[in-house]
Symmetry: C2
Subunit: 431 residues, 2 copies
Amino acid sequence: MEGGRIDGKLEMSDSSSELVKQSGDEISHLAIDIGGSLIKIVYFSTNSKCSTNDEAPTLSKERKEVPNGDLNHHILSGRLFFVKFETSKIEDCIKFLSSKKLQQCGAQCHHSHADDKIKIKATGGGAFKFTDLFKEKLGITLDKVEEMESLVAGANFLLKAVNREAYTYIGGQKEYVQIDQNDLYPYLLVNIGSGVSMIKVDGDGKFQRVSGTSVGGGTFWGLGKLLTKCQSFDELLELSHQGNNRVIDMLVGDIYGGLDYSKIGLASTAIASSFGKAISENKELEDYKPEDIARSLLRMISNNIGQIAYLNALRFGLKRIFLGGFFIRDHAYTMDTISVAVDFWSKGEAKAMFLRHEGFLGALGAFMNYKDGNADLCPPQLVEQQTPKSSNCIVDRIHNSTRVRENENGAIDCRLRVSSSFKIYDEVKRC
Amino acid sequence: MEGGRIDGKLEMSDSSSELVKQSGDEISHLAIDIGGSLIKIVYFSTNSKCSTNDEAPTLSKERKEVPNGDLNHHILSGRLFFVKFETSKIEDCIKFLSSKKLQQCGAQCHHSHADDKIKIKATGGGAFKFTDLFKEKLGITLDKVEEMESLVAGANFLLKAVNREAYTYIGGQKEYVQIDQNDLYPYLLVNIGSGVSMIKVDGDGKFQRVSGTSVGGGTFWGLGKLLTKCQSFDELLELSHQGNNRVIDMLVGDIYGGLDYSKIGLASTAIASSFGKAISENKELEDYKPEDIARSLLRMISNNIGQIAYLNALRFGLKRIFLGGFFIRDHAYTMDTISVAVDFWSKGEAKAMFLRHEGFLGALGAFMNYKDGNADLCPPQLVEQQTPKSSNCIVDRIHNSTRVRENENGAIDCRLRVSSSFKIYDEVKRC
């Protein structure tokens, strides 16, 4: 399981700060996705230490001409990092951003003077909700990017540009999927955040939100917290790992006296009614093990999402379902339940696939939204081999693993093409 | 709301026994549906008091020749009654049946002697699970009828034979639906018991279980019991009536700082994440009002069922969705949520309709399964006007309200055509 996991150090805000400190990087630019439960941040760093004198930082060594001879742009080598915070602890996020001195390091280079306004790309509902807070505390303007657009841009980037990004999870086996870029669309993108969005994706920027459900990660965590007193999502997930849902779910066999209901293809072990056994037993909440409750809850929600996803995939004839969002967390049981649900309902016709950078689709998409023109720098964007869609930034394709590569911490090595007018050199010197 | 309610007296097992006592009836025959949470019983009574001497009971007055001159059959007038018990209190049900002296009163007339075996039609998983218990305690053999077949037969009977059975519930208004029997099929039958079954019905005996979900009435009751300590489903439902789901559900406006997410048509008041607000608040279970929790739970489950029902209706191009099962209980908020969900997702194309005898579809269907031949009596069955499908029993159509009529207690007045060899007269005399 370790191979596919976004590094544990990224999971907690403190650890995230730690990671950033350890890497000694400086944020050159950054995008943020503020959801109902979590804040996700993606930032690009050139891996240079902030110089303390007037010497040019190591960063300058990475500055290269674009191979195709476009003299108006330069290429920067660096790395995309992924950090998250709980939305309820937004102050930690503010502190983190404050410590990174975005104002001085060129997170957005609209400003010609240090006191000019700084803009960062932001998506998710919190980009609206916390506009004033960011302005007040950090002097940062949140430049809003539509949420679904961000999710789709992030997913498309990952699926096209990052090697070993998508995988299936069947029978306890993780298997990476080779993405044929000529046969990627259409697909169903299921983003499981606090709630769930289901988006039919037909191409770059071509999509439609076709469904969703309010029974998502927030439900698992919220109900789980009330039922088990767990203090974090990860604690709850860990707990569920040890539990047995049969203690509290009413199974087909519980109703049928241990028999299958074979006429309609339901095994005796199939769940007839989630939490249904709690009805008939003279037990109160305290009489159940928290781990059993966590397991029932996880299975109920995962199965439900798998079923609704399948029904929507069926509706539009989509064979591939990619799942993102921070609900899954590379958790074997979650993935297994969703995979089995999709397989069961579709009779093997549709396939559930998971993404290694699952939780950062929106933040990545917002990051991709930096455009040349007003801005001086641009984020990784895929350049199509035959027909380049973007002339202002570049991240090479999956096949060129020397340029786009994910290291073991989930960070992605990549190169940015920036406009020549972007003065990252000067900006960094000012740190 | 009272007009459409199965009488409250039927809701509790004690009250049910009371009702039967009050009506002074004797069960002439009976069918039972034993589900995971509830046992549902339908029985036919001729409304005769059991005679204490050798005089012929009033029942005999109801004996008539069949109008079409079929001398092999007679018609009995009487009433179908509906009773339920909790499955966990099956002993109450056993006591009830025992008190009715089925052995002596001809519940099934296979037996030529009092000590012969008695058979009653039974459906639901409990018909398998409790086979031995019924045999041991009552000497009764449960003659099993397939569960889905029973649900469909029960629904078809109600929709065709009982006036003012189906209704919509929109904007707080209940509106009875005129069923055009020539345009009834196909429809989606959604039976919400402990779990949920979704069945595409194409005609009498023509159906396919196309979907289902484990998030049903058992989930509402089970989770609700754990979260609120309510001791009964009805108590929980009553509680939800007073609650406010916005206290604990994460709304779109909670994420978007009070704004709508208009781009995808979600109002600020829409639920983004059921129970999602519990994540971020420093509250424990005890800090929330049970009524708010009950409300959130009810809305989560109702909305989810409405959505999955709609997706299945869409899949097969079905415009009408009939909802049965004991989850709904004529509860305004439940019906409103399901109706709104179906209307929202289908953009007004599909319609949710509820059934007055919602909880008894399976038991009614099992009742319809009594056939002439080995058995001597038969239950209400619809006789088609042009092409009678059954020559051995009759309940007249909805248009003939003098024969099939529902009284204010939910009981249905009807007439049975029984084989001439059925000796109910003698059986009753023996009581």
